[in-house]
C-alpha cells in the first residue's frame, strides 16, 4: 500500500470532522433504531401520539409475524383452558388464538435463495467476463464494455412489462430461477465493470510467472488472480446482494406465491383490525440481519475495495 503525504490535521479540524461523522451516523442510524424499537412495541404503543420513546417491550410483533391468528369467542377461549406456551398467552389476551404459522419464513427463505443465488451467479459470470476483458484481445472491446454499461442507464423497471410477458411465456413467472436470472441480468453490468477495474490493477506479471512455474492459464487465474481479486470480489458481491435483497418492484410484479421474496410480503402483514406495525417492523428488522452479517464479515474487504484503485501507486 502506498503512503499518504498529508499533514496531520489540527485539533479543531479533527473535532469538526468527528462531529460531522457523528451527525451523519445519527441521521442514518435513527430510522434503523426506530424500526428495531417498533418491533418490540405493542400495536397501540406503535401508533401512539406523541410517539413513545420509552415503552414496555413485548414480543407481540414477532409472534404476529410468524403466526396467523383467528378471533374466538370468550366461551371458546375458556373451554380451551390454560395456554401452554408464552406466545399463546401473548395472543390470547387480545381474544385471539394461533391458527397456524405465517408464510414469513418461506418468504425469507426465498429472499435468501434468490439474493445469494443471483449474487453468486453474478460474481462467477462477472469475474470471468472481467478477466477476459482485462487480459485478452476482445474484438470491439470498448464498444462491448460500453454496451454492458449502457444497460444500466435505463431504470430496470422501464422494461417491466416486456419482462413480465417474456417470463410468462417462458414459464419463469413466480419461480426462483426466474428471479435469480432477472437480478443477475440487472447486476451483471455493475459486476463486470467493478471487477474489471480490480483485475486491471493486478499486474499481468504474476500470471506470467505462474505460467512459467508450470501452471495452465486457468490454474494461474485460480491460484494467483482470484486470491488477489478477493477484495474486489467481496465488495462487488456486497453491492449485488444489497440490490437483489432489497428489490421490490420486480418482486411485486413477478412473484406472488412460491417465489415471493420478503420485501413484497412484509407490507402485507395485516393484523386483525388495522395495520400491524410492530409485526411489519419485526419483519423489517429480521430482514436486515443477513445483509448486515454479510457486510460485517466482508467489511475489511469492503473498505479496501472502495478505496482500491483510487490511489495512484
Amino acid at each position: 500500500m502506498s503512503s499518504y503525504s498529508v499533514t496531520e490535521p489540527s485539533a479543531r479540524q479533527k473535532w469538526f470532522a468527528g462531529t460531522l461523522v457523528v451527525l451523519y451516523a445519527v441521521i442514518t442510524i435513527l430510522p434503523l433504531l426506530w424500526i428495531i424499537g417498533t418491533g418490540f412495541k405493542s400495536p397501540s404503543d406503535a401508533i401512539a401520539y406523541p410517539p413513545k420513546t420509552f415503552f414496555e417491550p413485548t414480543l407481540e410483533g414477532y409472534v404476529n409475524l410468524f403466526t396467523t391468528r383467528t378471533r374466538v369467542t370468550e366461551e371458546q377461549l375458556k373451554e380451551m383452558g390454560e395456554p401452554k406456551t408464552w406466545y399463546e398467552r401473548l395472543v390470547r389476551k387480545d381474544g385471539l388464538i394461533i391458527a397456524g404459522p405465517s408464510r414469513f419464513p418461506e418468504r425469507f427463505y426465498n429472499s435468501v435463495i434468490i439474493g445469494f443465488g443471483s449474487t453468486v451467479l453474478c460474481i462467477v459470470l462477472g469475474t470471468a467476463a472481467a478477466y477476459a476483458f482485462s487480459r485478452f484481445k476482445v474484438p470491439l472491446k470498448d464498444d462491448l464494455l460500453f454496451f454492458i454499461l449502457s444497460t444500466r442507464m435505463m431504470p430496470p423497471i422501464a422494461v417491466a412489462i416486456p419482462i413480465f410477458l417474456m417470463f410468462r411465456s417462458l414459464g419463469l413467472n413466480d419461480t426462483h430461477a426466474g428471479m435469480i436470472l432477472l437480478y443477475t441480468a440487472v447486476n451483471l453490468s455493475l459486476s463486470v465493470w467493478l471487477l474489471k477495474g480490480f483485475i486491471d490493477e493486478i499486474p499481468i506479471e504474476y500470471e506470467e510467472a505462474a505460467l512459467i512455474d508450470g501452471y495452465t492459464r486457468f490454474q494461474a487465474f485460480y491460484k494467483v488472480v482470484l486470491p488477489q481479486a478477493a477484495t474486489g470480489i467481496a465488495s462487488t458481491a456486497i453491492f449485488c446482494l444489497i440490490f437483489a435483497w432489497n428489490e421490490y418492484a420486480f418482486a411485486v410484479l413477478l412473484t406472488s406465491g412460491t417465489a415471493q421474496t420478503a420485501p413484497p410480503f412484509i407490507p402485507t402483514i395485516i393484523g386483525v383490525g388495522g395495520q400491524d406495525w410492530p409485526a411489519v417492523a419485526a419483519g423489517a428488522t429480521l430482514f436486515l440481519v443477513p445483509v448486515m452479517v454479510f457486510t460485517i464479515l466482508l467489511r475489511k474487504h469492503l473498505l479496501r475495495g472502495i478505496t482500491f484503485g483510487a490511489v495512484r501507486k
Binding site: P203, E208, A209, I212, D213, G214, Y215, T216, P227
Partner: protein, 344 residues
C-alpha cells in the same frame, strides 16, 4: 562459500536452445528482427543492449509468454511451436513484480514445485526450499508474507523460485539490478558457481558490464531487434564488429574519435576506437590533461586531444595534475567505417 546441494539437472537431455530467424513485431515496431542464435547446452549467455533492443522480448520468446511472428525456437532439439510456457519447462526470473503477494516466502518458493507439472512430494519440497533459502540467505524470512520483504529480499526469493526447479533453461531478466552492491557481488559469484556446478543453461539479460564479463560464456549484442554480435566476452570486448558493439562493454567507455586525427589510419576508416587502457603515454602527440579522477585502484585522466575529449586510465599513484600536457599514442586501435562497422 555455500555449496549447491545436488546436481540440479537429473535429466540428461541436452538443453541446447536454438532461435532460427525469429521475428516479432509489436504494432509497426520490430522488437526482434530475424534473430538467429544458438545457446549451447550448459552455457551462460548474456544479452546486452539498451532498453528496447529486444533483450526481454528474446527471453519471452524462449519462455513461451510471447510467440514469434515468424521463425522457430528449439529447446533440446524439439520445436517449441505451439507449446505453452509450462510445457517448455523453463524457469524465469522477472525484473519486477515477481513474487505472489498473497503467499508467504515459503509458499512462493514451493509454488513451482507444487505445480501440476512437477507434483513434487512434500519432503523433497522442504529439502529444496530450505537449501535454496540457505544459499540466498533468506532462511529466517521463510514464514514472512512476500510483501513484507525489502526489494533485495524479494528479488532473492524470485531468483530462488527459479533455482528450486530443474528446468531446461533458466531465463533471467536483470535479476540483480535491484540489489545493493555487496549482495549483487555475492549473488553474482553464487549464480556463476551454481551454473558451473550444475551445468545449467542460462540466458541472462543485464546492463551491468561486470556481470556480463564475469559470468558469461557467450555474449549476444542486440541492436534494435537485431543480433549484431555473438561471441565470448573477450571476443566482443577485443574484436567488436561495430562502434555500437564496442560501446556495450568497457568502463570507462571506449573513446571514439575521427580517424583522421591519427596518422596511419586505413583509407576507408571514418572513426577510430580506443579503449582507455590502450592509450600509451610518454610518446606520440600532445594532449592536455583536463581532469584527474582518483578511483583508488586506478586513476582516470580526462584529456583534450586536438579539441576532442578522451579518457584514459593510468597508475593509481600518478602525479599528473589538471593543466599539464602529456604525450599519447594509440595501441591496438579499432577502425570503423562511415556506417560504424569495423574494418580493422
Amino acid at each position: 562459500m555455500l555449496s549447491f546441494p545436488k546436481p540440479m539437472r537429473e535429466c540428461s537431455a541436452v538443453a541446447e536452445v536454438i532461435l532460427r530467424n525469429v521475428t516479432k513485431t509489436f504494432g509497426s515496431h520490430a522488437a526482434l528482427d530475424d534473430v538467429s542464435m544458438t545457446i549451447p547446452d550448459g552455457s551462460f549467455v548474456v544479452l546486452l543492449g539498451p532498453t528496447g533492443a529486444g533483450k526481454t522480448t528474446t527471453l519471452r520468446m524462449v519462455s513461451g509468454l510471447d510467440t514469434p511472428d515468424s521463425g522457430e525456437i528449439f529447446i533440446g532439439g524439439m520445436s517449441m511451436q505451439g507449446l505453452t510456457p509450462a510445457q517448455r519447462n523453463v524457469a524465469m526470473v522477472f525484473q519486477q513484480y515477481s513474487l505472489y503477494p498473497h503467499l508467504s516466502v515459503r509458499q512462493n518458493l514451493e509454488f513451482p514445485l507444487k505445480s501440476p507439472l512437477l507434483k513434487t512430494p512434500q519432503k523433497a519440497i522442504d529439502e529444496k526450499v530450505n537449501a535454496i533459502a540457505e544459499i540466498l540467505q533468506i532462511s529466517h524470512k521463510l514464514d514472512n508474507k512476500a510483501t513484507a520483504l525489502s526489494g533485495g529480499e524479494m528479488q532473492r526469493v524470485s531468483i530462488g523460485r527459479a533455482l528450486v526447479r530443474n528446468p531446461q533453461i533458466y531465463l533471467m531478466d536483470e535479476p540483480l539490478s535491484s540489489l545493493d552492491a555487496k549482495l549483487r557481488a555475492d549473488l553474482r559469484v553464487e549464480l556463476k558457481n551454481i551454473q558451473a556446478k550444475s551445468g545449467a543453461t542460462l540466458l541472462y539479460v543485464t546492463h551491468d558490464q561486470i556481470e556480463a564479463m564475469t559470468m558469461a560464456t557467450h555474449i549476444g549484442v542486440l541492436e534494435e531487434g537485431r543480433l549484431v554480435q555473438f561471441g565470448s566476452p573477450r571476443e566482443v570486448y577485443e574484436a567488436p564488429v561495430s562502434v555500437y558493439a564496442a560501446t556495450r562493454l568497457g568502463q570507462p567507455r571506449i573513446n571514439v574519435l575521427p580517424a583522421r586525427l591519427f596518422a596511419g589510419s586505413p583509407d576507408r576508416a571514418q572513426s577510430i576506437g580506443l579503449r582507455p587502457e590502450n592509450i600509451v603515454q610518454g610518446a606520440g602527440e600532445d594532449a592536455l590533461v583536463t581532469r584527474v579522477e582518483h578511483l583508488g585502484d586506478q586513476t582516470r585522466l580526462h584529456l583534450s586531444f586536438k579539441q576532442h575529449a578522451l579518457v584514459t586510465v593510468t597508475d593509481p599513484h600518478t602525479g599528473f595534475r589538471g593543466g599539464e600536457t602529456i604525450k599519447i599514442q594509440p595501441s591496438k586501435p579499432l577502425f570503423f567505417d562511415a556506417a560504424g562497422m569495423r574494418i580493422a
